[in-house]
Structures are given as C-alpha cells and as structure tokens.
C-alpha cells in the first residue's frame, strides 16, 4: 500500500464493533496485532529547529536539548529529543497528501476530529460489541536507545495488550490497551508504548 493510502486508512475512526461480538471475543484477541504489518515512518527527521519549537512550549531549559557540545559531553550523538516528544511530535506521519480531499471542510464537526491525527499504524480493530465513544485513560512508555537530532522515527505494531470490561459512571464498555514499538532509522528500539483507553456506550440521560 502506498504511504499516502496507508495514512488515509489510518485516519478512519468513529463508532466501531458489531452486535455479533461480546467482550469475550475481544479478550480472546489479546496478543493479536492490528497494525496490518504496516510501518508508519515519521515525516520529520529531527532537527535543531523542531527541537527548539518543541522545547519552547513549556520552557525546557536542560541544555542537552539545545546544545550539541553539551549533549556530546553527556555521551549523546547530538542534541537530545525530549522523551515526551517521541510518541507524538517525532512520530507524526503527516496529515495530507496530493490527491486527498481537503482536511478542512466547513461542515466538519467534532466527530471528525479523529481524522486529524495519524499516530500508530492501524488496520481494523479487534472483534467487539458496538461502542460509540473512546477516550484516553493511561499510558506506559519505556525508553531505550536515546533519540537525538538527525534521527527519524518509525512506529510499528498495534498489539492488543489488555481488555477489561467494566461499567463506569460514564457508560458501559471496556478498558482496552494497545502496544506499539518505536525505532530509529537504524532499526534500533527507542521506545515501547502501551496506551490505554475506555471504549464504551455513554449512559442514556434520564
């Protein structure tokens, strides 16, 4: 699949699931991969400007983020990319390519918001009962090889890591997590992230 098609497919979000499935079917799928075997290569090779723009936001002052010489003194190849940037900024796959429709239709509503982000290679979802809403709950990220200026990150895998059906104050559904790996241009593992979410049907208002 061409990279642009892969990205377009990754952007399809919204209600999911089918009535023929139960959460037991979802639990049975733990360990399976839902990335389609695709690898999402980040658009951006990390450079001095992108590091500065990132570090300015919350005023990161540690000089390993700003100065090659100090970073090298500390044993790095070059300026260091903050660890919080790996999962989002420097693994971003881009948002639009020639031939794709506009991302900015005037009638776009809040339900279209998921179409704006490409973060993890995605092909399909585990079997699950119909659900309409999903929100982020928790995340664990382990870091390995440092990420520095000049690196280009790729994201691979979307393995179903856990499923816990639960009725909560906001609705009925399940806590689900997926695991992905992040590698640099040399194929070295730089991070492994497991992201949890609650996918559910909201309670009907009385």
């Amino acid at each position: 699949m061409p990279a642009s098609d892969s990205k377009a497919a990754s952007r399809k979000r919204g209600p999911k699931g089918e009535s023929k499935y139960t959460w037991d079917d979802t639990i049975a799928a733990i360990g399976k991969d839902y990335s389609g075997g695709k690898i999402l290569v980040a658009d951006e090779t990390i450079d001095e400007s992108s590091l500065a723009r990132y570090c300015e936001i919350f005023e990161f002052g540690n000089p390993i983020f700003w100065d090659d010489e100090i970073a090298q003194r500390a044993g790095y190849r070059a300026q260091v990319a903050p660890w919080a940037s790996i999962k989002d900024t420097f693994s971003y796959g881009g948002s639009w390519r020639p031939g794709e429709p506009t991302r900015f239709p005037l009638d776009m509503d809040k339900d279209a918001r998921g179409a704006n982000a490409v973060r993890v290679p995605t092909e399909g979802d585990p079997p699950m009962p119909p659900v309409s809403t999903t929100f982020f709950t928790d995340m664990t990220i382990e870091f390995f090889e440092p990420v520095c200026k000049g690196d280009n990150i790729s994201v691979m895998g979307r393995r179903l890591a856990s499923v816990s059906p639960k009725v909560t104050s906001v609705g009925e559904g399940a806590f689900i997590s997926f695991a992905s790996e992040y590698v640099n241009q040399r194929g070295e593992l730089v991070a492994r992230a497991t992201q949890g979410s609650y996918t559910y049907n909201p309670k009907k208002k009385a």
Partner: protein
Amino acid sequence: MATKYSIPAQVYWDDVNEGDEIPSVDFNLTIQRMIIAAGGNRNFSPLHHNTTVGKAAGAGDMFLQNGSCLMLWERVVSDWCGIYARVKKVTFRITDFHNAGEKIHVGGKIARKYQENGLHLVDLKMQSDTPRKVGMTGTVVLALPTRANLTGTPRWNAQGIAC
C-alpha cells in the same frame, strides 16, 4: 571549555533519598500556549484548541492533550536531574482536564531508590494538580549517575540491562 548554555547542577544517585521532593513548577495554560502546544505535539484535534469543542467533551475549555500533559513532567524532571541522568520509563493516568486559563502545579517525590540490572534508579512519584483536584498521577523511573562514575550517563539495552 565555555559552552553556549550553562550546565546545571548534577543529581547523583548516592546523594538522594526516598522521600526527597524535587522542585515543583507552576504552568500557566494561556490560550496562546495551548495553541502552540497543539502545534508542537502535531495534535490538531479541536479538543485542544477550540473552546466550544472542549466544552462539548465535558471539559471547562480547550484542554491539553496527553502528550502535552506529559511535557509538564519532563520539564520538572529535566530541570532537576542534570545532564547525565536519563528517564527509563514513565507511567501516567490523567484524572482531570488541564484546561486553558488554568494554572497546573507539578511536583514529584522519590518514592523508591534501588539498583536493578546494573542501573542506579529512582522512582519519582509525580503529580499534577489542576485548580480542582489531582489532574495526573504516575511514576517516572529515572536512571542516575553515581559518584563513582560522575559523567557516566546511564545506557541500557532492549532488555533493560546496563550496557
């Protein structure tokens, strides 16, 4: 040799203790900062830059995306630890919206000091407070240099073993 930026004080594993608090930071979430954060994280969902959409989702306003919430912790930890320390693992859970117009207080405490797989580690119990309640909790596992190897930035392999 002179450098463009000053090198901050270094924290060594030998010198810290369980129960030690690390310096906290207050973050003002102005609308301008929210917009810059959305761009900085390449996360352009209107939840993070549009008041109407944020409120429709149950928040008080546009709110920080999880990666931006994590940045607050990185600022606090990297301000404190020096240039020879490295974060090994982070686990976090968001418990309240970090809304535009609010001040978020972030602090941490050394919950555990230990050695594992040749690394000298501390678990920092981190907490972000919104004006209403605890907004994010979790743990940052930090590998520190030791007095025996003052400039030895910790490294580990894919199995988490020092190398």
